[in-house]
Every structure is written in C-alpha cells, then in structure tokens.
C-alpha cells in the first residue's frame, strides 16, 4: 500500500508541476523563448548552447543483438530526423552509444557510465525486461531518463522510465476477445518460453479466458529458452485439439517451433494460432511459408496503410537498406527520441524532473502507428492490431481495436 500511496503522491505532484510548468511555457513563448543554456539546464547535464548528448544503450553484440539492432537503427533514424529539423530547443542531438552486450549487469554498468560520467540528458535503451530491471536502480539513483521500447509484462512503473511499447493487458485482452469472437474459440492451449514475460502474460491470458470469455485452458506449457525440440509438445497439442494455440515463444526456439509445427501437419489450414511474440523481425528467421495464415497481436505492423507510416518505412529503408524490416518494437523505439523532444520543448528545459512532468498528457500525432497519448503512468494509450501473416513475411491487418489505456497493475489479473 505504501507503494501505491507514494505513486499517488507522485501523480499529484507531477500534475502540479505540469500545471506550473505550462504556465512557464506560456511566458517563455510570450517572450520569444529564452533558451540560453543557463535557463534550460540547471542540473549539470551534457547540454551546451549548440548540442545535447543522448545515450543509446542496447545490445549490439551477444544473443540479443538479433532483436536490439532494429531498435538502435530506429532510434538513430529518429535522432537524425530531429537534427535535420533543427534539433531539440535549437540544440543538435549527439549520440553516445553503449553496448549492453546481452549481459544484464553490463546494462547497469553502462547506464551508470552514461548518466554519471557522460551526463547524458536521456537514454534510449534496454530491450529485455531483465536488462531493464538491472538498469532501473541506476536510473532511479542517478535520476536519469529512460525510454524503453519493448512490449513487456507490466507490473512496473518508475518516474524515471517512459514505456513506449505496450504493457501486457494492452496486448493480450483485446486480442483474446477478438479471436474468441471471430473464431468462436472455446479451448485454448497456452505455450511460452520459460521466463517472466511469457509467464506473466499467460497468467493474465488464463484469467481472461476463464473469467471473461468463459472458455477453458486445456494446456499450459513453458519451454526452456533455446530449446529446439518440440516433438512431444506438438503431440500433446494434437491430442488435446485446442481451438486456439496462444503462443509466446521467443528467440531461437521460435523458429524451431513453427518449422516443426508445419512439418507435423499443423499449419494454419488446420490450426488457429495467435502469437504475441512474432513481429516482422522474427519472420525473417522463421520464414513466411511456415507462418502463413497464423495471427500476431501487436500494436504496429509494417504494412500499416497510412501516409505517416509509409513515409516512416521509406525513410527507414533509405537509411538502413531496402531489405530491412520494421517490427513492433522497432517502431516503438522510433517514438523514444520524438517523445523526448516533445517533452523537453513542453518543459522548456532539459532538467530531468521538469521533462518527466511535462510529458504525460502529450499526444504524439505523427507516430507511424497513429496518434498515441502519454499517460500519467508513463505508458502509452495505443490501439491493438491483429495481423495475419502472409508468405512474403508481411502481415495483413485484419482487426484494429479502439484506443486501449495502459494498465500496468491490472486488478483481478494477478
């Protein structure tokens, strides 16, 4: 309870600060914006009259490089575009990139280096929950600012972090509702990799299926990370014949899972599957032919047909090559620098406390996924989309939900 009280206190405090600040912004604009460094930065950050230093902290080496490379690319693209538009408060953004090397303690160490000795104004980074959990104490102690791109299990909220991906309920509930209605699904088989994100997600999914959809879970299975033998699991699924397989398998296992499923005759013609762990990035490895017809629940797909998204995709391909693909997390990572720019400009300051207070309530209209709103709990209100995979590795969007408010501490689901 004390936690909750503190959070409430932060909220009220934040709102108050925001109110005071917006008054400040008004006067600022009225006086044609005094943006001298002494005015906009009072806490010793690496901000000069012409530049501001921002950190990027992802794994460029090690196992996670597969996933995190896209995020690095998206963040660099956003920063390049921001600089082309004149930077943040007239200052050019300089990037200091550090490598977390897929090793969680390294993330904490590098975060400390970025905040304490480089004095970066903000950090775009972390990918797995484990790396975020490792770096979080550093961000809280040094009072840094982290923009975190990955969809994750929720159950966290820090004043030092903005979560630009979806938390679990945003990704899970609407997707299950859709498949239950559309496919008349009653029985579900849950399968995920064996770590915190799939386990928390499946817990929420099971509660939702049993209590709200009045369906039943006929199997729940967790696979060791990196396991590539699915023969026995697939046979169990064949015996239970669920209406829907609900999957959150990640990494190298993901590919083996889909390949073996197809080889065992369970393709989309025979089996409905909804996954929450397959984006365009994963499809590259899995191969479109193994996925064709299965569904993914994500907030963003590359194929999204809007002018903003098309120009984003074009810019991304121009910078990183024609063959690059953009998955959900890559798009979420792209939001980070833009949200930071908006927050600084709303606050009229680079000071972390002011930036934090200024961002909630902001609506980012030009996000490739469509307008998103930053909520007081530092998560985004977004839509959920269901994509059906095609052989070419792109998804056809078959369903778009209404806006879903983030709820990182869902009541009745824990």
């Amino acid at each position: 309870m004390s936690n909750l009280n503190r959070r409430n206190f932060m909220r009220v405090g934040g709102a108050l600060a925001a109110a005071l600040l917006s008054a400040g912004i008004l006067t600022n604009t009225a006086f044609a914006a005094d943006t001298s460094t002494a005015k906009v930065m009072t806490t010793g950050l690496a901000v000069t009259d012409t530049t501001v230093k921002v950190g990027i902290l992802h794994s460029a080496t090690g196992t996670m490089a597969i996933s995190e490379t896209g995020s690095i690319q998206a963040e660099k693209l956003a920063i390049e575009q921001i600089n082309a538009m004149g930077g943040i408060l007239g200052r050019k953004v300089e990037v200091i990139q550090e490598d977390g090397a897929s090793d969680w303690p390294t993330f904490a160490e590098k975060a400390k280096k970025l905040l304490a000795s480089d004095k970066v104004a903000a950090v775009m980074g972390c990918w797995t929950s484990a790396s975020r959990k490792a770096a979080l104490p550093v961000f809280e102690k040094e009072n840094g600012l982290l923009f975190y791109p990955t969809f994750y299990e929720g159950l966290e909220q820090s004043k030092n972090v903005f979560y630009t991906g979806q938390e679990a309920t945003q990704q899970i509930l609407a997707g299950l509702d859709w498949i239950a209605k559309e496919k008349k699904a009653k029985t579900f088989y849950l399968i995920g990799s064996d770590y915190i994100w799939p386990r928390t997600s499946m817990k929420i999914a099971r509660k939702h299926i049993e209590q709200h959809l009045h369906g039943s879970v006929v199997g729940e299975e967790y696979i060791a990370l990196g396991d590539t033998q699915f023969g026995s699991v697939i046979n169990k699924i064949k015996l239970k014949k669920p209406d829907v397989i609900y999957a959150a398998v990640v990494g190298g296992s993901n590919v083996a899972w889909f390949k073996q499923l197809n080889a065992a005759g369970l393709n989309s013609a025979k089996q409905t599957m909804l996954t929450i762990s397959v984006t365009e990035d994963e499809v590259l490895g899995i191969g479109g032919e193994n996925l064709a017809g299965f569904y993914s629940a994500m907030k963003y797909f590359q194929s999204l047909d809007t002018p903003t998204n098309k120009s984003f995709v074009a810019a991304f391909k121009k910078k990183w090559g024609d063959k690059s693909v953009i998955g959900d997390v890559t798009q979420a990572a792209y939001l980070g620098p833009w949200l930071y720019k908006a927050a600084v400009e709303r606050a009229g300051s680079f000071d972390v406390d002011k930036v934090q207070a200024a961002l909630p309530g902001y609506v980012f209209k030009d996000a490739p996924e469509g307008p998103v709103t930053v909520e007081k709990n530092h998560h985004l209100t977004t839509k959920l989309r269901i994509g059906q995979w095609g052989k070419d590795g792109q998804a056809k969007i078959v369903y778009t939900s209404d806006y879903i408010k983030p709820d990182p501490f869902p009541k009745g689901y824990q």
């Binding site: 080496t61 490089a65 490379t69 590539t228 023969g231 490895g285």
Partner: protein
Amino acid sequence: MFGYSMADIGNIMVMQGFSGLSMFTVLLLMALGLAIIFGQMGVINMAHGEFMTIGAYTTVMLSKVATTYGFVNYYFVFAIILAFILAFALGYFIEFIMIRHLYKRPLDTLLATWGLSLVMQQSFRSTFGAKEVSAELPEWMLGSFKPTPDIDIPINGVFVMVLALVVTAGVYMFMYRSRWGLRVRATVQNRVMAGAVGINTQKVDRVTFALGCGIAGIAGAAFTTIASTGPTTGTLYIVDSFMVVVFGGAASLMGTIASAFGIAQAQSILQFFMTSSMGKVSTLLVIVGILMMKPEGLFASKLRK
C-alpha cells in the same frame, strides 16, 4: 490420457515414438563430432557449436544461390558436402595454429576454444548480420508423410534421421575399417609407440580434429531444416552435445549412440507426460544420478594419458 479414443491414443503413440527417434538422431548428429575430438584427443572443443554454425550458414548461402539459379530441389546434397569441406578446412587450420600447442594443457584448450567460439560468433555477426536467417527448403522436404490420415511423420525429421545414420556408419567405417582409423586408434592407445612404428602422430591429430569439425559442419547443415541460423545458433546445441558425450563415456562410439538414444527417449517421454521444462529437469536429474555412480559415463574406455 483418459477420455480419448483408442485410435487417437494409437496415433499419438506412433507419432510420439517417431518424435523420440527423431530427437535421438538430432542428438547423435550433434554429439558425434565432439565425441571424436574429445574421445580420441582429450580436447574439449568449446567451439563445436560454432563449427555447426559454419555448416548452417553454408547451407543458407547456398540456398540463396540455388534459388537464383533454380536448383533448389537438390542443392541440399551440395550444401552438406560443402559444409563438411569448409568446417573440415577451418578445423585443420585451427589445429595447426592453436590446438597443437595446447595438448599438454587440457584446461587451456578449454579456455582457448571458448575464446575461439566468441571470436567466431562475432565474425558471423559482422559478416552475416545479427538477424536470424533461414535456408530456403526444397519443396519435398516440407510437410509430412501420412501413412493414415491422422498420422503425420515430419519429412525433415526423416531426413535428419537418414543423414545421422549415414554419418555414423561413415565414422564407424573410418575409425574401425580403414588404415586411417587404425592410426588414430594406435595414437590414442600409445602415442610414443605409434610414433616409433612410423605413424605421423601430428598429422593424425590434425586430421582427427578436422574430421570432428567437419562432422559438426554436416550437423549444422542438417539442422537448418529444423531451426534457424544466427550468429549464436551454436550455443543452443553445445550443452546438449556435451551432455551426450559425457554421459556416453568419452571414448567410444557405442557410448555416444547409447547415450543419445537414452537421453532422447527419456526426455521425449517425460516431456509428454509432464510439462516440457519438468521433463528436461527430470532427465538431467537422472543423468546426474547415473554419472555419480558411473563417473566415466556409460561406456568407459581408455583415454590418452
């Protein structure tokens, strides 16, 4: 298992039996190269997984060439041969520049080959990119073979099975039916004596090491049919490979086969009746128990002293 029809249970038993056999051949193929190097030379090759990755990338690259020039249906044969040749050549070279200096220092070979594995992983990442890729599989290898409408036997599983049998038979012929194998076994039993009767023991070491690596290459090529290929793919296989070799007893081909079969069956059956992770845990517990009673593994035999 109640509430299912007899036919259902029969079908599942057939498929489950196949899945156990399939896992057996996968483990066997993984461990064979390692068993040769560890068993015959006492070298613990931590970079074994990366030699598999070389085979896998070879297949992926060749599949790209094959799609361009339209020989997708049978490129896999070439891929396997090429994977063997490349991994063999690299193994030969590595033995020459690195391993041969460390034979008297077994712990150092462990560190050195582990370092090698990191270097190789990063070179894959720099060369092929960090993202996972998949080989374009020939049409005939996709899907399943159906003896009855309710039984599906994955064709890629059958393919790996056949390949594992061919490679095992090849290794057996090489080790026990050829002049080369005779020299290898002589060197293992008594290096000084073997040298005295005119066997070039250095060359024997080099070829043995290279052969182990070459077989890892074949395994890597075969595994593109069941999983994807990335810079760190090798790390997925290395633990299982070691488990099979250690459990089987370092020096014997029979031991490796028996151990791969035992582990695969135990795991496959336990995973069916328990959850997947519990099945794996139980299998490991059994292995630990047996190794406590028989530290040399199932089939102990002489190691080079």
